[in-house]
């Protein structure tokens, strides 16, 4: 393990570690971002469906139509 601390190697070890951590953080953020977008979209759709005015129709009976 001490080879990892050698002056010529340590900087590559540090860079690789930093890159691995960043890739992990990035993928985690991307997942959270997707999940958040999904929830926001579903909620929007549900809210829009709830807020929509009820369908209206005029029922005209045969009796009134003939009068």
């Amino acid at each position: 393990m001490t080879i990892l601390l050698d002056a010529g190697v340590a900087i590559y070890v540090a860079m690789t570690t930093a890159l691995i951590v960043w890739v992990g953080v990035f993928l985690f953020l991307l997942r959270i971002d997707h999940a958040t977008q999904d929830v926001a979209r579903q909620l929007n759709e549900r809210t829009t469906a709830t807020d929509a005015p009820p369908p209206r129709a005029t029922i005209i009976s045969n009796d009134s139509a003939t009068q």
Binding site: A14, W22, L29, L30, Q37, L43
Partner: protein
Amino acid sequence: MALRKGDGVKIFLGLWIAAVIYSMFLVVPQYVGLGDAGRIIIVHVPVAWVTTAAFSLSAIYSIIYLWKRNSNSDAAAVAAAEVGMLYCVFATVTGSIFAEVVWGTFWNWDPRETSILVLLLIYAAYFALRSSVDDSERRRRLAAVYNVFAAVTMPFLLFVAPRVADSTLHPNCAFLQGSKCEGVSLSLTGAKIAQLGDVVIELKSLTKSDALTQATIEVRMPGMKNIATLVPTLDGAGKPADRPEFPGQQFRMVLLEADTAAGTVRVNMQAPGTNLLSNPRTLWVFLASNLGFLGLAYWLYHIRRTILQVQLTLTPGEMNI
């Protein structure tokens, strides 16, 4: 994980920051006096700057909330403050790692370290305030007012207090009282004695040999029994060469200008890391890092704000933060 429309920008940001990390280690040169530890500046300083941007954005949304009483503005203020807090902690941690490597201790109550700790406590109190008030309208109103006052203290804590302090280990040309970062002038025939911070310096001689100009300067420091002699030099191109350390200090003396015919010099005190950005490669990576961390902060803010807005839609008035 399937990619979606809009992911292109995020992947570009991911690659950008990966390139900054690569450049930080393999493109930026070592800085004399700091070694590889100096590379952390590429992350530490941009993160600290983005902290101020995030806290400022938070304050702007708090003002908008106080003006329009729109709960979405309050959610935006909270999201920005949380990102600012996260970045502030990251800046403090990276600074502490740097301090351990270069100054030998994780924490030494340097004015800038102290001021960032105070800033952290101020914003920790913001979140504590939010969680201590049950009534949502009252919580939002109080938090918004507090947030505006917190933002007012920020420029003082981050930019003014560390600069007016008598001494700091941070690279900072303005730590000298009344200094304009230009150093002080000494003359063999005129004013031989001057003061750099709390150090008294006296020009004893000025010589030029080959391509090297040497100034011999005596140094008296508070609590120092003996007088020390430092010999800073200029190379043939008129650039500072030897920068001797003040006895028992992290600071170095630098010879900025010398006129051997007139017997005048201009000297200053420098902390390790001063002029770090004068190297073009370091400067470009530093600027790229600023952009990358700003983009990352915006992304984090956007995610958090969306989550808070979803929470608001589901339970209006009951955002438990």
